[in-house]
Amino acid sequence: MPDARPAAAHSPGEEAPPPVRARGLVKRYDEVLAVDHIDLNVRTGDVYGFLGPNGAGKTTTLRMALGLIVPTEGAVELFGRDPMRRGAAALEGVAGFVEAPRFYPYLSARKNLELLAALDGGGARERIDEVLEVVELAPRAKHRVGGYSHGMRQRLGIAAALLRRPRLLILDEPATGLDPAGMRDMRILIRRLAEEDITVLLSSHQLPEVQELCDRVAIVDRGRVVYEGALSDLRRQGGAGYRLRTTDDARALEVARAQAGVEHAMSGEHGVSFQAQEPEVGAFSLALAQAGIGILALTPELATLEDLFFRLTESNGAAPGIDRTAIPA
């Protein structure tokens, strides 16, 4: 039974349990269904984006993963261990924070980390200076956290997580409240941690950040997963988009809308955008020529994560062309 053994105790050749595996996760608060049968699969080495609008159930899911709230149904396993059954032992090698990281405001940053290191055991205490350096809080370590800015607390949250030498880092909106430079540095830090084989489960509203950092994503909406899989697959499924500039964009738009196989045609500042498969693009260009419209530029564009996010979450998961069942077994 995978739940009954330490994460490192796998026989050679035996497949190690994944960092996060959730099955049929449900959380109900009276009449409100906050999380509705969510399945997640975070694999070793993933930088896994967990996306969704406010109130979609992201934080509730992360709290269940960390054993902070009890699922109504289903279970989460971290490296094969269920926090509901194994308690703190299930969090071995796991660190992170949900919503804003919280500390004792009447203690200094160093004292806060000493407290957390004591509750971690092992050699966590010896790493305090190092993690303070990593997040550049060493000069302010003796100051009370009550006087810290939001951004400094976010950084202290990362430091507190690193104390545990995690193999899985769960971060809920780590860039919230940071200035642009802070956000950039946070991205660099997350990328660097991922390069050290730390699996990262990142919940974020910063879609460009997720697009840049994450290789796999889950998008949740109204408590349900509307997509889970590789970000590249999602973008591919989102359809090839094209941007077109012609001698007469208004007429080109009319032709596009009448052309079979050309979808989501719309005019914008820089011409006409549309989606179509490659053969239909050829037919469309011929149709434009027959209409006497000259093509000045035709540029293929993959859909951005932001486009796909809105298509998935604003269409109740019924986004055309996107296979939301691409969730691996």
Binding site: A100, G122, V134, R192
Partner: protein
């Protein structure tokens, strides 16, 4: 973090073969350190220290005046400094010490829930049961500290004012000063039985309500309610089983021979309140959703 990229990255450890959980004692020590670092901790302690000092100063100012024929120990106040801590325990045990114990016990879980720090410590390597035990023990430790600090200040002030002399017990037996001091310590220790019960109720309310003010007011309100119940005609049968009736049972130690009956009675009556309260608090703490912060 402007130079994060240039900072050496933390290196990853080899996964631990066996998980070693920090001890409950470690969690308890940190609960005490958190208490020591909070100003509100000193509010209750200040109350129970200042009152004996005021009392002694006031008594000294009334030099030569009639000190009344109140309590048995009040009449001995100038004969031995050891009468002061007994008299102070008599006064403070009714309300001030339960109030001081409630201030911390009612706050100890709810404040962390409200501040969001509960989620911070529950995602480390200690189990919920350990965190709860550490918090409950810290609340009891604070209650004990309040009692003995008050007794220490009262004894010191009393002895400095009126000397370290023999004292007469409720039975009229004269005991030597060292024996009297031992009785003062024992009486205060005995009073911890009902005071720990008050703290247990505070911990339960703190865990269940997740609201510091409601927990503190609720605990103090329960004490006041029980006092009122004790005054209602027709409820004489239940009076010996009210928690507030146990607050003075330490007086059995100040008789010769020692009257153990009220102390044993206090012990089991208080257990009827404290054990279910702590057990319920433990269950709530284990199963609660930590959704705050």
């Amino acid at each position: 973090m402007s130079s994060v990229a240039a900072t050496p990255a933390p290196t990853l450890p080899a996964p631990a073969a066996h998980f070693r959980r920090p001890s409950t004692l470690t969690a308890y020590r940190w609960e005490l350190r958190k208490l020591i670092s909070q100003k509100r901790t000193y509010l209750g302690l200040g109350l129970v220290v200042i009152l004996p000092l005021f009392f002694v100063i006031f008594q000294n100012a009334r030099h030569g005046h009639d000190r009344g024929a109140g309590d048995f120990f009040a009449r001995q106040i100038t004969q031995s400094g050891l009468a002061t801590p007994v008299l102070m325990l008599l006064f403070l045990s009714a309300f001030m010490l339960p109030l001081a114990a409630s201030l911390v016990a009612g706050d100890i879980v709810a404040a962390e829930d409200g501040n969001g720090t509960l989620k911070t410590i529950l995602t480390r390597s200690v189990n919920r049961g350990q965190v709860f035990a550490a918090k409950a023990l810290a609340a009891m430790t604070y209650a004990a500290l309040a009692v003995f600090l008050s007794a220490f200040v009262a004894t010191l002030a009393g002895v400095l004012s009126w000397g370290f002399h023999h004292i007469t017990t409720y039975s009229g037996t004269v005991v030597s000063a060292p024996e009297g001091l031992l009785l003062v310590v024992a009486a205060n220790a005995c009073y911890l039985i009902p005071l720990f019960t008050v703290a247990s109720v505070g911990v339960l309310l703190s865990t269940a309500t997740r609201n510091s003010a409601a927990s503190v007011v609720g605990t103090v309100g329960l004490v006041l309610l029980l006092y009122i119940l004790a005054q209602i005609p027709g409820l004489e049968a239940v009076k010996p089983y009210l928690l507030t009736e146990q607050f003075q049972n330490w007086q059995g130690l100040l008789r010769t021979p020692t009257d153990w009956a009220p102390i044993w009675h206090s012990l089991w009556v208080c257990a009827l309140y404290a054990v279910p309260a702590l057990f319920a608090a433990y269950l709530v703490f284990l199963r609660r959703d930590v959704a705050g912060g």
